[in-house]
């Protein structure tokens, strides 16, 4: 099994190269890169009113810059070399953890990403705690009270959360509780007077801002985990070993908590590793709606602004987290369930 996981870790490399080369090529093939954007801005600043909203090609910017200057710019951004060469250069810098410099902020990409991380990690970890903290007990109660009023009512709610995309939940919450009832602030991570508040006030302020986005985040993952917990516990309750335990006179309660629950947590473990990428990358739609300056919004904005070094930097981090998360899930399963033998046949991926 160790060899299996070593193989999985080694397979990260081709996957990583595949993903980055695809997106790298795409950003190169697409017109309207950072140079064109800068030229546009220069043209707009120079002659206010001549609106050049369309994607200007580099050639058309020749009026403001000479060919030599264009050449210097292209060299500066590395656009003068073939795609594969500049990809190689980019990759060799990534290997030594240098993600390059943002074309928009002219700051190192890693610094920009790092400055957004605390917010994303706060939301990710809180969502994770809330999701598992609510879903597992709720799933257990639903399984025990199968087909009662409580089960049906909570099922209806769970379904609602499952059916609606989480950003729509966010918009709905924003409209009702922030815009109309004004219970919560409309956007942002903290208030303007955050620095002047006491420690307790700061915490209260963060959660005051975080309540609605957190509900939106949790609503999405909530349904899946709850139903998974419920169904797997019901499967186990129907299994022979629980029947035997009860027939031998064991209390129903201890039959659940001592025997059935442990086994039914296994399916939950299969998706645990994927939380790794959720913690950091989150949902940029929710971040956009609530105007939270997190990792997702950074990715979205840098895409819109054609800040490709940042886009690639985010891609590096998110794809690595995604792949490692998958492997982590498998490790979780192997740890929780000693019966699982990975690598016995090729079908276990």
């Amino acid at each position: 099994m160790t060899t299996y996981f070593i193989r999985r870790f080694l397979l990260i490399i081709p996957t990583f190269i595949g993903v980055t080369i695809l997106v790298f090529t795409l950003t190169r093939l697409v017109p309207g890169g950072p140079i064109e954007r800068m030229l546009n801005e220069a043209a707009m600043a120079g002659a206010e009113g001549t609106t050049s909203m369309s994607t200007d090609y580099a050639g058309r910017g020749g009026s403001t810059l000479s060919d030599e200057q264009m050449q210097v710019l292209r060299e500066y951004y590395g656009f003068d070399k073939p795609i594969i060469v500049s990809y190689g250069e980019w990759l060799s810098r990534v290997v030594v953890l240098d993600l390059g410099t943002s074309t928009r902020y002219t700051e190192p990409v890693w610094d920009i990403i790092r400055s957004r991380l605390p917010i994303s990690i706060f939301y990710g970890v809180t969502t994770l705690i809330l999701t598992y903290g609510i879903c597992i007990p709720l799933g257990i109660v639903k399984a025990i009270k199968h087909k009662t009023v409580f089960d049906n009512v909570s099922s209806a709610l769970v379904f609602l959360g499952y059916a609606i995309p989480n950003y729509v939940v966010g918009i709905g919450l924003l409209t009702v509780f922030a815009a109309n009832l004004e219970w919560f602030p409309l956007s942002g991570f903290v208030s303007d007077d955050f620095e002047q508040r006491s420690t307790l006030g700061k915490v209260a302020d963060i959660f005051h801002h975080a309540t609605l986005p957190l509900i939106a985040y949790v609503a999405g993952s909530f349904a899946f985990t709850t139903m998974l917990m419920k169904n797997s516990l019901m499967d186990n309750l129907a299994a022979d070993y629980v029947r035997t335990a009860i027939a031998k006179g064991l209390h129903f309660r201890s039959a659940i908590f001592r025997h059935a629950l442990r086994n039914s947590l296994i399916p939950i473990a299969t998706s645990f590793g994927n939380n790794l990428s959720l913690i950091i990358t989150g949902s940029f739609l929710i971040e956009k709606i609530f105007n939270i300056d997190g990792f997702g919004l950074l990715g979205f904005e840098s895409l819109v602004e054609r800040d490709y070094p940042v886009v690639m930097g985010i891609l590096v981090i998110s794809s690595l987290l995604f792949v490692i998360g998958n492997i982590l899930s498998d490790i979780c399963v192997a740890v929780v369930d000693p019966r699982v033998k990975f690598g016995a046949d090729g079908s276990n991926q």
Partner: protein, 346 residues
């Protein structure tokens, strides 16, 4: 097709009331949206002018001169109705339930849009921030979103079933190659790619479908691979091969029908995700170009005009209702194909 098993599954599906009625309602809505021009349209259903009846709904443009008006562009039927009423010469106009189409800006001189819902102006859900009727935008947006989701479904399932079957059936190097490819494909944040593409070409319906299929075929492929893999190991496949059936016959006649339950079970969820992703793209401004009626565009208008609660209210309710029904259907189908009978303790 109608073997006893299918009939049994259909009966089981019908017995799940929530899912069955969602199915009925959604089908009726879909049917209505196909002939939405008859309910929500700025063109009249019937115009009776000097004893002659005109049916402008599906015909070409009827210039105003036809009805004795002084212009040669398309007749404004709402005004015509009022004129006929005032003149009282026996001419009449029958307008659809909602007398607006999804594109016209019904502006008023006294104030700026968005206008709140009003029975008097027949904007039953109000107008958006450029004065377009919300019912009309929702109705035609629904038609486009569902059409989009269905086309996407057919295309990505076709690719998924083809590749997935081949992977599961032949295995080996082909399987390994595509496994790697799918892993790479799944790791690419595909909304990013769509945004890069959409920022270059203004996406049309078909470019969006193409891009989404290119990045969305993997889910079905993976499912089909697993179930083909399982089916292939069973004896009936060996038996068919022993009787001399070729590969294509074994796959097409024997394996595929046995994996149909996997395919059918996933359909509603794929539709829901198709609608949701189109809405998300439109919301961000990377979807279908304006002025295409779209739910996502209404959502973003609504979030920018939160004080006009009727915009965001109606579109959020519409999304919730449709996606909830689709999910209920999905759950009922899953239950019908794979009934789980639990033993449980009272």
């Amino acid at each position: 097709m109608l073997d006893p098993q299918t009939i049994k599954q259909w009966k089981r599906f019908k017995s799940i009331k929530r899912g069955y009625w969602s199915f009925v309602i959604l089908m009726v809505l879909l049917g209505l949206s196909l002939v939405a021009e008859l309910f929500v349209n700025s063109r009249a259903l019937i115009v009776s002018f000097e004893g002659k009846w005109h049916f402008p709904t599906y015909a070409g443009v009827i210039p105003g001169e036809t009805f004795g008006l002084d212009y040669d562009y398309e007749t404004n039927y709402r005004e015509l109705k009022q004129q006929f009423k005032d003149a009282n010469e026996g001419n009449w106009v029958l307008m659809p339930l909602v007398p607006y189409n999804a594109f016209e800006n019904d502006l008023r001189t006294d104030r700026f849009p968005p206008y709140p819902p009003s029975l008097e102006t027949q904007h039953y859900l109000g107008t958006d921030s450029t004065g377009r009727d919300i019912v009309a935008r929702l109705m035609y947006g629904f038609r486009i979103a569902m059409g989009f989701a269905l086309v996407l479904l057919v295309c990505s399932y076709a690719a998924g079933i083809l590749v997935g079957c081949a992977m599961g059936y032949w295995g080996g190097a082909f399987d390994l190659l595509f496994q790697r490819l799918i892993e790479i494909w799944n790791t690419i944040p595909f909304l990013y790619v769509i945004m890069i593409v959409a920022s270059v070409v203004v996406p049309s319906f078909w470019t969006l479908v193409t891009v989404m299929v290119i990045f969305g075929w993997t889910a079905m492929t993976w499912n089909m691979r697993t179930s083909t893999y399982k089916e292939k190991a069973r004896e009936y496949v060996d038996a068919a091969r022993a009787l001399g059936a070729g590969h294509s016959r074994v796959i097409g006649v024997h394996i595929l029908p046995n994996t149909i339950s996997v395919i059918v079970t996933f359909i509603p969820f794929s539709i829901a995700s198709g609608v949701a992703s189109l809405t998300a793209l439109d919301f961000l401004g990377f979807g279908l170009p304006p002025p295409t009626p779209s739910w996502g565009e209404l959502l973003s208008q609504g979030t920018n005009n939160l004080e006009s609660g009727w915009i965001v209210g109606s579109v959020v309710l519409a999304i919730v209702a449709v996606l909830l029904m689709v999910t209920y259907i999905g759950e009922a189908i899953r239950e019908a194909f794979d009934p789980k009978k639990f033993t449980y303790y009272e």
